[in-house]
């Protein structure tokens, strides 16, 4: 699986800026580019829609509702679909330098690890479902996205722990086509489920970190070693934030092509939710001294 002989450790870290999802997504790509050993990151976002690399935000997002609810919009560098993140989501990202896995095998490896982690919590009916989902009782509890280059593999995803599903349904546009192979409960389509719903109790996100890390390390035959952020990763993330993730050219890519279909009010809302606020910019200013 790997061409590189590491120390046998999976570097695990919590690196999160929940109030600035633009920077969180910049750090995600920074880890993909900068990690020098197998690295597993855990992080959370607060109130943001994260769209896939090849999605048009105008087709995926109810921008007016998102603006009303204070929900931001950011594009990630990997493919896949739009997701809503709040503090009830646990996000994970695995970078494997030196590994040569195709996209399907990468999803399987991480999907099976997430399923193992959930089984260790006493959940039985949990399965990795190709291409990029983990389901409990046929309902999605975790979705993944991936990218790879010649010398590395990257898989990230989010686990619904106690997310606000009503906001999720309000801010995401969901087409009839998308629901065509999903399960219906009464008159309402039921597509996703949270860990709290499955267990019938509240779940603390920090309690899951060790379980998830051990499950991923187990699949890779590595030992977990908890670590901190490196300054080179922060520096790369700051560059990516300034040049890409804080910019409308990135977050609203593909919108110009469909401009005729979007009214001015919606366009204004899209611009607003896809731009970091002053408070969010301040958070990034606080990061800068760590790399200077």
């Amino acid at each position: 699986m790997s061409d590189v002989n590491y120390s046998g450790e999976l570097r695990a870290l919590v690196a999160e800026w929940p109030a600035n999802p633009f920077f969180n997504l910049a750090f995600e790509e920074a880890l993909y580019l900068e990690a020098r050993c197998p690295t597993l990151r855990f992080w959370r976002n607060d109130k943001v829609i994260v769209i896939g690399r090849f999605q048009c935000p105008a087709l995926e997002v109810n921008a007016l509702e998102a603006r009303r609810l204070g929900v931001k919009l950011v594009r990630r560098f990997t493919g896949g679909g739009a997701v809503y993140h709040d503090l009830g989501n646990l996000n994970y990202a695995l970078t494997l330098p030196g590994y040569r896995l195709d996209v399907e095998r990468s999803f399987e490896l991480v999907g099976e690890a997430v399923a193992d982690a959930l089984r260790s919590l006493g959940i039985n009916d949990v399965h990795y479902r190709p291409l990029n989902d983990v389901e409990v009782g046929g309902l999605k509890i975790s979705g993944m996205a991936a990218s790879r280059s010649q010398d590395r593999v990257f898989v990230h995803g989010s686990l619904l722990v106690s997310s606000d599903l009503s906001t999720l349904w309000t801010v995401l546009k969901t087409s009839k086509e998308k629901l065509s192979d999903k399960r219906f409960t009464g008159s309402r389509v039921k597509r996703v489920i949270t860990l709290s719903e499955v267990l019938g109790r509240s779940v603390d996100v920090p309690d899951l970190l060790g379980i998830m890390a051990e499950a991923v390390a187990g699949k890779l035959g590595l030992r977990v070693s908890w670590s901190k952020v490196h300054s080179s990763e922060l520096e790369r993330a700051l560059n990516l934030y300034e040049e890409k993730y804080s910019r409308l050219e990135w977050n609203l890519a593909l919108v110009d092509e469909l401009r005729d279909l979007i009214d001015e009010e919606e366009m204004e809302a899209l611009r607003e939710i896809a731009t970091p606020s002053l408070d969010q910019r301040r958070i990034v200013e606080e990061v800068k001294p760590w790399v200077e």
Partner: protein
């Protein structure tokens, strides 16, 4: 006008067409699929955005272009799904 197609158990592709009279003057493919290599898909996206062809031919023309991209792999949707999404978009014009 836009159309979409969900591959059973797979991903969703959305296709929007820019038209003028009976001509398509740009095709835009988006969705929650995965592609490899991404650079190839981005090149293809540009090519399709300036594609000019009669509306009646657009599905076959896009399929022909996709079939010609031997190095491009799209995970989760097929060329047939893209064609179906285009047919839906054309019906809405």
């Amino acid at each position: 006008m836009c159309g979409e197609k969900k591959h059973a158990g797979g991903k969703l592709v959305k296709v929007c067409l820019k038209t003028q009279r009976d001509l398509v003057k740009g095709v835009f493919i988006t969705g929650d699929f995965f592609v490899e290599p991404e650079e190839k898909f981005i090149e293809l996206t540009y090519l399709l955005s300036v594609l000019e062809t009669p509306i009646r031919n657009v599905a076959d023309e896009v399929a022909r272009i996709l079939e010609g991209e031997k190095l491009l792999r799209i995970y989760g949707v097929t060329i047939e799904d893209v064609k179906e999404a285009i047919h839906t978009a054309v019906r809405g014009i």
